[in-house]
Amino acid sequence: MKHSIANFKDAAAVAFVALLLFGPFLGLELDDNNTGNLTLSTRPGLLAIAVGLTFVARLLALFWQDQFGKQERSTRFIKLSGQYGLFTAPLILAAAKVPFLAPAAKFMAALMTSGRFMAPLLLIVAVTMPFWPGLDESYVDLGVLIMTYVMLGWGLNIVVGLAGLLDLGYVAFYAVGAYTFALLSENYGFSFWECLPICGILAAAWGIFLGFPVLRLRGDYLAIVTLAFGEIIRLVITNWVAFTGGPNGIIGIPHPTLFGLKFSMLGGPGTFAGFFGITPDPSQRTDYLYYIILLLALLTNWVTLRLRRQPLGRAWEALREDEIACRSLGINLRNTKLTAFAIGAMFGGFAGCFFSTREGFIDPTSFTFIESATVLAIVVLGGAGSQLGVCFAAIVMIGVPALLQELAVYRMLIFGIALVTIMVVRPRGFISTRKPSVSLGKPKIIGADMVSEGRG
């Protein structure tokens, strides 16, 4: 009986915190009573429901813990979610009391480690997606967006995941790629395919250029300087009006062509539809863009996977594990770090080039810090160093908010709760294990506890 009083107190405390948190979020509302003035109104009912739900959920969670808590590992999960439940309140708590969640987490872990089956499956899904009957064109468009972030994630994964260098300014290279194509096409009439390699090379050059000053920096200091570089690029783009168009951006960037065939609504000779004698349809261009980015992303993945099995890739991972030991083995730290920056930046440049051809219009607002943060979150959420993890994380980070569009204001709330839940259940990301790059016998998967996260 004593126990239930303690539980009651505990639940009341949690409900009180929920009241403080939800008070301003749910309890208050701005109205514009049709006169143009904003007035503040209260929603006590909604607030009461939220707090009440938190109270009940916490009480049930504690009760469940008392009843079944002793025997299994799910207790740890309940306790954890209990702690974090303070912040994310009713939903996570409600979820925590559902008994199948612990096995579900286990299942998820097993699923995530079985890259052998998941990777081909994902590839098949990705390749066939535009042909699924009855699939709305907007989903293919969303696929293009997700794939762009998968590619950015894979690019940044080289720097953060493999080399262990925390880069908060990755968007700079994305911007360099995008503006390179936009400016070359505007001023010299270059096409997408001509510009693609140039964008990659220029972004890589910027990667090396920005990499030089930060060679000696590590950890938090490196993060701050790279963050500043990202901002410098954005500010230069914004303020150098004569060159980049400043805040007005650049319009009329050409769309990619297929061996010279344009994707035009008008049809006729010289267009894709005209050449193959089919009815022009906007979906043709979307599908084409989809396959371009799929190809670029797969190229990124392929190069990374090959590099991992090579001296350079191993040197990156060794750098993440121990810089001093690397030096004692005769590894040139400067070159190793710069190649990581350059190759990561190159793929960022490719993605930027694709971004500007897809949008047809770019301006500096597309290259703010939030982009760097999103890409870094994808890498961290996926599990630094894991290619497959980045895929899942990009789907979660980009796909879920887009699919939840109908939920309007609650979208970000649910999204936030989902992210916290994932990080509680899997603190080192979806796939935190590491597969050896070479082995004598059957390769053994290395647990996350062994693998260093890198100190930059």
């Binding site: 190069v303 090959r306 590099l307 090579q310 001296p311 350079l312 191993r314 040197a315 991972e317 060794a318 993440r320 594990e321 121990d322 001093i324 030991a325 690397c326 030096r327 004692s328 083995l329 005769g330 590894i331 040139n332 730290l333 190649t339 590491r434 050896p436 790059s437 070479v438 082995s439 004598l440 016998g441 059957k442 390769p443 053994k444 290395i446 647990g447 062994m450 693998v451 260093s452």
Partner: protein, 283 residues
Amino acid sequence: MTDTLLTVSNLTMRFGGLTAVNAVGFTAKRGDITAVIGPNGAGKTTLFNCITGFYKPSEGSIEIAHADGTKMLLNKLPGHSIAKKGKVARTFQNIRLFSGMTVLENLMVAQHNELQASTGFGVLAILGLGRYRAAEKAAIERAKFWLNATNLTDRADDPAGSLPYGAQRRLEIARAMCTGPVLLCLDEPAAGLNPRESAALNDLLLQIRADGCSLLLIEHDMGVVMKISDHIIVLDHGKKIADGTPEFIRNDATVISAYLGEGDDDDPDAPIAETHEAAETAP
């Protein structure tokens, strides 16, 4: 096999007002095991860090003479070239392995420079062309040789961080040997090993010497030092106080008062026990 390999002359290392190594000079012969001993804080590890390029000495020079007659000033080489061109490898007092990588991967990383040269700037190897495949095969063979020598073959695919302490020490030596050095610098290789492991270490070091690699070794364990060293240098307060064969050092009055202690000559371990307690500052 009696020519000079390493010549350290007038080596001085100052940290602000502190002179950690003061005008130390010695030579190490090719094919010898040269030991550097002395009390904690005598400047042994600083000396090592100067030789292996982790510190740039304030004064003096370190010269290595390779068998083909080329001579190099190690204090003028950039840090990573000491292992690459100078062919000097080292281990660390506090073990520094790539713990998230497998034992085999650790040995492959050590062969980075040779392997990288065969990848055609990475491009050819990505495309699966060139001679990288053959080079990798050779590197694995070399790794297997050292795995065998250090008795780690059955742990090859385990993460280095999961090995027991003694095995980690052996792996660090194997990793250093995979860089193909002419001089291997060992910073307290026997620290924390039990007597049986220590004896096995002696055998390993003697085998390395027999294979043609000279050794420079910091060690407190006199059982190891007196048994296998050909030449001993004693440091105290940054200065060299003695230099000679094990017999000479054992009977040297200055060394006995500074380090070995006025104990029973037949039991040199006894007075040294206390020096094991405190760890020296690592690089």
